[in-house]
Symmetry: C3
Subunit: 369 residues, 3 copies
């Protein structure tokens, strides 16, 4: 094993964007649907979540964690997985991921682990990322002035958090005005929204208000970019549509996932001192194609502006697999750079450290905590 | 030869989108122009259709079929080709393609083989794909109510067909409203179009009408996506612009060609149970770069949602070369996945079968015929 | 060393788009900022221009020119570089580039070498490319009718030049009307602009006027496309937005840089006899990822439509490194095509010659000079 391979395998990762894993049992359909990110309903009868890059990657890399041979058949994998409770699976996969810190976006619903449970199940540290749209929905239900309630909730929750997150990509996308609305506009929009029940925020004025409140905190703001489920109009989640927004602030902004716009995102990370990129979710879903994607992330983005995350949600396999595939992919890519003489081995070792934890430690000020 | 290489070479392909090959002699300019897809006029005097990936691929892979060494010079290739009639070339190249079924879009004009002639020349089965814009042009010339005529022609032609096809990409592109127009709108638009002569459909109302009539049949609808000639505004042929249209139906929709939007197309195939992707035309034109493209088709698209086609039209070389390049490319890509341990050899064999024929057999219900 | 490697190393390149190198001393911040193209201000304190693909490539490939080992540390590199004057660095790096002709866009300000100085420092030929927006700014300051002054300056400057250049991408981008404005529109717009001082042209009417005046000259028109600094809205620099403009002329148009739209640009080079592509700036900034980019440039673009440039500006390293990385990249890519049997070695040798100098010699009529 080369020094580079060892360094990559030994790196204790900061998984800077992740969600809870399942805590309670579910059927095979739940599991297979969780392997397809983009589809919002059940898979077609002729289809299987296993027949995808992610499905193949689970059979290749997760099967051995459960004591099966690599590439165990789908049937076999499901049968073996079913012998464990989700809690047991979480313990197994989380502790096998080689992660030291989980930064947890708690804004997704469902019966999944919270920050404290992730800590307990993994044996690692976990910190919260506060989802701005969830704060908005809490403010809509609170009594009194919306903006004041939003500010109060945000500050209270942010006190223990390391960053904020927005899913603007899912609520109309990035195009259009993203400046800060006036107090009067916010009050009017909040009134209308509360009249409609104040659930599932999609009002642009309030989305913009939330974003700018998040920026004002000074904590890094994570943005879902590109690939996700089909509620998101993918072409409206192109990060280049954020240019004017990015020009308005110098609070750190982290572009997550980014597929198929990872080259555009890398450009933004070069163009703006406060912009960061992370392949997130895409790496799990790309499976054997992960290295090609990771290589593109290493194009225009300066190396001090690239982060790691798994975006694991649901099956604990994803929290583990993200790390496994990132290690495999970065090794393939950097090994190539070194073998052609373009990089020195020392260059490669240092970039591994930067992406694995140095950059995230700096951006989220984890060292000071 | 490995088991994977053998399986790929032996696979009897379903070429799910193809046109007729030439039947009558032409000069060298006709041939060289046919090697450039995007240009609509004659090539510049300083240029040669041979000096492109497709041209190099023809010299590499088609020359041996004509008894020449690989990489025979362009001059030599043309000289040798000229010794054969187009009928003889068709017999040679079609029968060498390793295809079992041709699904033929008959909507392109010109002196090319029809469905029966393709069957006879190749010795394989051939089935028709009905081009909706051609049905529209026939309905414009028919007496009486346009919508009724369209429906009558479509049902008559579709009775023996396995799918429909639209070239909306060439008639204004995908952006804008793609909902079904009202009967009154259709009648008004048809009246205006018939007054203008009823040739070359580019009226959006009637294009939308045709699409929805096609969907209602329930047969798979093929859509030209991305790369084609310059009559198509390439940025308006981005399949993400189809999102709202795709949300309106569950009839199978096959995205053809897709370059340079193959990753976006793969995403749609993951997002919608009824959406399929196929690299089509792009593979011939990418020549030595085909493997990189095929690899990207294998990113987000579930493996049961990927199809094969050559889009061959004109020179019979293209019907053969599409298959040859697909085999070379898929072998390169899957061999790589297996060699790195990401896939098992059995995984690779199964995915070859899916793309080569299993998926197409299911989508077009070819088994039942 | 293979015949292909030798041919590539020996090729005397025409660097068809370049600027002056520095002539006077500067500090380390100037140097590191010059390694980040997209950022317009100083780098963040936590960042370093060396920690990027370009920075790593300078340490790998430029260090030996200064007598250092490959991959010398950033500190060491800067220390060694500081022992030389910029004039000495220019002599070293320009003469090591293996370039025979520099086509120099003189429209960038700053204390850099002009055409004659580049000739003297390199020992090669240099020719001018006239930037149309600079002509406009000169015409704004000239007495009398704007259009007449523009025409007079353009013709005078173009007499000794080999092409023109536009940075429309930086002045609002490509979308919107790009037809030729009327004389009256030009006069009105020029009056308004002169009233505002006539500096930094961003009036669309006058930009369009300049473009069409440039086209009318018949000299090749270079267009900045894609990647550049953040004053450019990258999504408005997508070359597909030029489709209608390209349809209006048959004057040669050269698409420069093109990242991340190099596949779109290659398509345009196939679609239009008068359109050319060049990776320019992108290759330096991609460093170890250059081969992947160069490979994509060799997809849809016919081989007689591809050019080479470094876009060097500022540090003389860039004039050298562009050539070094292009040689490394094209070798990697073509070697691959030959090794898989897709191309013959003779094919590869010929394509090297085409891109290195044959195409540029024809387009810019350099042979006749």
């Amino acid at each position: 094993m080369s020094g580079l391979a060892r360094r990559i395998d030994d790196a204790a990762l900061i998984d800077q964007h992740v969600h809870g894993c399942w805590l309670t049992a579910g059927d095979r359909a739940r599991f297979e649907n969780a392997l397809n990110e983009a589809n919002t309903g059940p898979l077609a009868e002729f289809d299987s979540g296993f027949d995808s890059q992610l499905g193949f990657a689970i059979r290749a890399h997760c099967a051995p964690v459960l004591g099966l041979p690599r590439h165990a058949a789908a049937e076999e994998y499901w049968e073996r997985r079913s012998r464990y409770s989700e809690i047991e699976l979480a313990r197994l996969f989380l502790s096998s991921a080689g992660v030291s810190d989980w930064l947890v976006d708690t804004g997704v619903g469902g019966d999944v682990a919270d920050v404290a449970e992730l800590e307990a199940l993994s044996g690692n540290r976990a910190r919260e990322i506060v989802r701005l749209e969830e704060v908005a929905e809490q403010a809509a239900q609170a009594p009194g002035d919306y903006a004041a309630a939003f500010g109060e909730i945000l500050h209270r929750r942010a006190a223990a958090a390391v960053g904020t997150k927005s899913i603007l990509a899912y609520r109309g996308g990035f195009d259009g005005d993203l400046t800060e609305p006036s107090a009067a506009e916010v009050a009017r929009a909040a009134g209308r929204w509360r009249d409609r029940g104040g659930v599932r925020l999609d009002d642009r004025v309030l989305l913009r208000f939330g974003l700018h409140q998040g920026l004002r905190l000074g904590l890094p703001l994570q943005l879902h970019v590109g690939f996700g489920d089909r509620d998101c109009d993918l072409h409206k989640a192109n990060p280049l549509l954020l240019l004017d927004f990015l020009r308005q602030t110098d609070t750190p902004i982290v572009l997550l996932h980014c597929y198929p716009y990872e080259r555009e995102a890398g450009y933004l990370a070069q163009a703006f001192n406060h912009v960061y990129v992370d392949g997130g979710l895409s790496i799990n879903h790309l499976g054997a194609r992960g290295p090609a994607f990771i290589a593109r992330l290493l194009e225009m983005a300066p190396f001090r502006k690239i982060l790691y995350s798994s975006d694991g949600f649901g099956p604990a396999e994803l929290h583990f697999l993200g790390a496994r595939l990132w290690r495999n992919g970065i090794h393939r890519v950097l090994r190539g750079f070194v073998d052609t003489g373009d990089w020195s081995e020392a260059d490669a070792l240092r970039v591994v450290d930067l992406i694995a934890r140095v950059n995230a430690t700096r951006v989220y000020r984890l060292g000071a905590r």
